[in-house]
Structures are given as C-alpha cells and as structure tokens.
Symmetry: C2
Subunit: 365 residues, 2 copies
C-alpha cells in the first residue's frame, strides 16, 4: 500500500482508517447485495438501513431529542447559509441576528442578505477575529427570527467554548468545523448544520439537525430542494441522496461510537491533541505567534505565525519531510494552520509538536 | 469477493467494473499523495488534476465547444429544475415553454412555477406518455425564455430520437437518464444537465453544460450556490465540491474513452442491448406489453407489463434467481422496467432476454 501521511488539511480532512478500510473492502459489493454502495438504489432496504443507521448513530452520539429532524442534504454549509434565511427569514418582515466571529460567519451573513433584514449582534472585525464574544458583549434583538453563530472559525482558529444564550430566539449554528468534536446540548439549538468533510465524512453531504416546529415554517413556494419542510417530510429521500457520502457518515459514526467510545472520550482526546500544540506555541517565547486569544483557542484549527515568511516556508518544508502536510494557513490570512480534527491521530500531533520544538531550537538562536 | 449481480436499477445504477476496481485499489491513498480521495483538499494540485481531467474527458466525448462551461454541482437534477428557472426565468416578466413527456418533465415544470410564467408546448398526458411529440405537434412560443425538454423519461421508458427544433429559443435539456449514451451536438443546447447516477458516476454530483452567455444572466441577488454565474466563474470550486463523486466521473469517462472507445461505440452497444429486449417483447405475441410506442422506445429504460400481476411477480422472482435484480417498475406506474445504462454488460441483457423468452414459453400455453 502507498504510505499514508498526516494530513492537517482544514477540510476535506483525514478520516478514521477503519472507516476507509471497511469502505475499501466492500467497494465492489456490499455484503448481501451483490452491488457496490455506488450502485445501490436509494429506495432499497439495504440503503434505508444505512441512512437510518447514520441517523441513529448521530442521535446516540449527540443525544438528539425526538422533536428534531436529522437531515442529510447536499450543497455544503454554503447552501445552508442561504437556506436558513430562505426558510425562516424570507417574507417575515423581521430580521435575523448574526454574530460576526470570522470569515465564515461573515460569509453566512452575506448569503442571507438577499432574503430579509440582517442585524449584526457583535462584530469581531476590529479585533481581527482573535476571539469569540462574551455574553455581555452581544447586542441581541429579542424579536429576531433567529440568532446565527459559527461555533468554530476554521480560518482564524477560534472556537466558542460554550453557546451564547440567545434568550427566546432560536439559535442557528454553523458547526461545520467542530461538529462531533465534543458533546452538545442539542436543546439549545433551533438548527445546527455541518458539512461533513471535517469530522463526519467526505465532502458531498451536509447534516442538518432542525427542531421540527422550525421545519414547518418553510414558505410554500420554495423550490422543493430548498425547503426544510419538504426535505424533512421525505426523510432526506425527496430526491436521490448522495448515497456513498451518507454511507461514509455511517462508518465514521460507527467508529466514534465503537472505537472511540462516544463524544466525551473524543473531546478528551481532542483537548489532549490541541494542548500539545498550544503548549509548544507558549513554550517558544513568541517564536510561534498564535492568532487566537487563549480563551478562544480552537480545538480543531491551531493557527500561528513564525517570525518571517522565510521561516514559515522553511518550517512547512521541514514538516513535509516528516510526512506532516497541508499546514499552510488560509490564503486570506497566511501563516500556518494545523487542523487536528477527530480523525487526526495523537501520533500525528506529537510529531508536529516535536517538529515545532526542534525547528524552534534550530532557528531561534 | 462477494458475487456481483446484474442490477437493472433505474439509478443509482451499475458502474463500469474497471472504474470501481480503480477506486477500490486507491481508496486508502491516491498514488503520489499519501491520502484518500475522500481526504484530499479540493484546492490541491492532485484534485485539480482530477476535476480538470473529468471536464476534459466530457469535452472530448461530447465535443463540447469552448463557449460552454462544464460544471460539477450538487443537488441532483431536481435542484436544476429550480435553478434553471431561478437563473433564466425569474424577474424577466416572460415565460418558459415546457414539453410534458412524462413524470420527470412534469416535475421539472412544477419546480419552475414559482419563478415565473410557464407555458406547456406539448402535453403527452392524454397519450399516457407513450411517445415523444413530433416537431409539428409542438406549440412553441418564439419569445419563450427557454424551451425545456426531457430527453429520456426514465419512468415511462420513452426517449427522443433527436432534439426538437426550438427555433431561436435556447433549448434546456434534462438529460439525466441518457447522458453519454450517444453522441450529441451540444451546439443545439443552451443548457444540458444530468445527475450522474445513471451513466456518469455515483449519486451526489450533477453535471451542467451551459452556454457561457446564458451563465451571465443570473440575477445578482441569487444566493451564490444557486447562481450559474458564480459557480461557473469559480469553475465548480465556489465551495467544496463532492470530490469523490467528481473522481468517479473521471474514472467512468476514462472507461468510456479508453475501453469503450467513445460515444459512437457506446451508442452501438446500447442499441444492440435495447434491441435484444424489444425483440423479445415483439416476439412473444403480446405476452409482454411494452409501454412505449415503437418510435419512442428508450435505449436506457425498457418498460413492459405481463398479462397479470401474479405473472409479473413470478417473473421478477424468476429473474432474481438468475441474479437479474431491480426489475420492478416505478411505484407510480407498476409493471417491469429494465434499465440498461452504459455500464450494464451485454451479458446481463442477454440473460434477461433469455429469462423473458423462457418465462414466456413456460407461462404462455
């Protein structure tokens, strides 16, 4: 087999090896069917078992109550940015609140603008998106249709440690880049959505967890593929779903349940991995400059700069020699970024930590 | 390995075995990357090579001119039903013509209704959708924004033998279920779109071939994921595309080019396969009742009924014993349906033909 590397990409990102191995083993024919998962009818008993299994795994992992739908949709988080507003905001004559915590929160807000009124509940721009807001800093509209938040900003590397309190307003959360990294109280959310390609599966499927009463609000004249109501009533089978991607979500959540042992354990491991890198940053006396304020440091995306562009480039080269790849920061902000999602093994993070410390030793004197 | 069956499903459907085998071989690590195609960044050089390769293959196979975009989108043909109207019809104050040839044409029209005026250019309802219209039967509006057609009706099993002449109006075609089954003159089309899960790949990616000037018409206030203009300018990378599905389109089109030898050869094989089944229908003196009028018989979906529901059920059981599966007709019309897309081997069709003839021999006396 081709040697596998440690892939610190922000997404698509590493997947658990046991999930990849099972998919590979069965790719020509799923047991008992004589067909590939790529060929099987989405109306077949076997596929229904798979999609219901993926939903059931998610319900177990997150304790999702019965009065929430779990949907498997297409179009990524970016289509959700629009769909949330098309379904809940459009035609209400009211406005929605957005917490601007970084690049993705801002993008989510911009996609909603054509659908109705938008209010900014907090804006981290002047802080260069280095931290999440405190509750008392939020200017919340008690009549907002919803309050939108981004639980983790992949590009800036900052993460909410806990949800803001939205009062009586439904909280809508883009959890794309920290979904399944820790337990959540789903009851705090009206809608929680996440593209799969960080912690849940491959690119091509988006998971939407939506309180059932909110899915009833979709305007009747929305195209069916954009209507939460239609998609929920059809249990994600209004049209042919991305069957293979749903299957991978099933395998990844099997791994979370059976191998990792649930989200408490996953969080403990994620905290351990993140601590290794942040401790390395803190130990090197400013050689590595973390972007995030300590209280908002992301467990998923560790962003930092080196003293010069030349050193950054040399560092990336040194890492690559050690099979540590995709560590370049987002083109909009530069620097370095280590994305250490659920499936990144502890060993990969230890190797990166060692690389950081040794590179510092060599270049700091 | 688990035994593979002949899968006559209308989609998702059989894929070429060499494409499945290559995907399986490389699933843990794409050569030269150390990562799975499920993990690779959509901005990486390797993925750009894959998506550009898929586009280049499609351009070669169909002779797509330079003034057309080839897009890889999400949401299936059903989202295209809405997007076509959102991008071209909405806000024009004009109307679009629809040719109602079956279930899918009607669904396409219904999804467009909320976006502007709709005219029916021909309606096959009273014929029970048994044939496609002749050119002189079409009531075309020369001022229509576009004329929408469905090249093959999967449920009814009827197919246009050639494109209707739309005059100066752009022709928009849902080619989901016969895309790549034969050569086409793309210049006849304004937009040609197809979900992948019949002839082009797995469910989860939709191919849109659109004349560049039409992609310029998208209203500025459309959410970006619904705007042809935005998606085309970003070369299908406005957000993370369904990377694995695009990769499979690359492998399937590699097979079409290298193993099959192009669309002329594919069409010849498809005609040969379809003829085997229609000849069996015609030879059995009315025991098998084809749904389609002979001039509109589909090369892709062969629909027929047996004299009684009991015989249909017995026939399906007999076929299953011979590893010929998914032959039940769509729930809305009943009967039997053999979907014989590109990747269905001649051997599978021969076996089905034999099954039909032997079943007739046994039950017709």
């Amino acid at each position: 087999m081709e040697k596998r590397v440690f892939n610190f990409s922000p997404g698509p990102a590493m997947l658990p090896l046991p999930a990849l191995e099972e998919a590979q083993r069965d790719l020509l024919a799923l047991p008992g069917t004589g067909m590939s998962i790529l060929e099987i009818s989405h109306r077949s008993a076997k596929f229904l078992e798979i999609i219901e299994g993926a939903e059931s795994n998610l319900r177990k992992l997150l304790g999702i109550p019965e009065d929430y739908h779990v949907l498997f949709l297409q179009g990524g988080a970016r289509l959700q940015f629009a769909m949330v507003a098309m379904n809940l905001l459009h035609g209400t004559g009211r406005s929605a609140d957005y917490i601007l915590t970084g690049t993705w929160a801002k993008t989510a807000m911009n996609e909603a603008k054509s659908q109705g009124g938008i209010r900014v509940a907090w804006d981290g721009t002047s802080l260069n998106y280095t931290r999440m807001p405190r509750q008392e800093e939020l200017h919340l509209d008690p009549n907002a249709v919803y309050l939108h938040m981004t639980s983790n900003e992949t590009i800036q590397g900052i993460q909410f440690s806990t949800e803001p309190d939205p009062g009586q307003v439904p909280l809508v959360c883009d959890a794309s880049s920290d979904f399944l990294c820790r337990p959540l109280d789903i009851r705090k959310y009206g809608i929680l959505y996440a593209c799969a390609q960080k912690n849940a599966g491959p690119a091509g499927v988006t998971i939407v967890i939506i309180r059932k009463d909110l899915a009833e609000r979709s305007p009747a004249d929305l195209p069916s593929m954009l209507s939460y109501k239609v998609l929920a009533e059809a249990k994600s089978l209004h049209n042919t779903p991305p069957c293979f991607c749903v299957y991978m979500v099933k395998l990844v959540t099997d791994w979370l349940l059976q191998t990792v042992g649930g989200l408490e354990k996953m969080e403990a491991l994620n905290r351990q991995k993140a601590a290794l890198l942040y401790e390395a940053i803190d130990r090197c006396g400013g050689f590595y400059q973390g972007h995030a304020a300590p209280e908002s440091r992301s467990m998923m995306n560790v962003t930092f700069r080196l003293p010069t562009a030349e050193l950054e480039s040399a560092f990336l080269q040194e890492a690559k020699k050690r099979d540590l790849v995709e560590l370049k920061g987002h083109r909009s902000v530069g620097g370095c970024r280590a994305s250490i999602y659920n499936a990144m093994p502890l060993e990969g993070v230890q190797r990166l930590r060692d690389c950081m410390l040794e590179f510092y030793e060599k270049h700091s004197r």
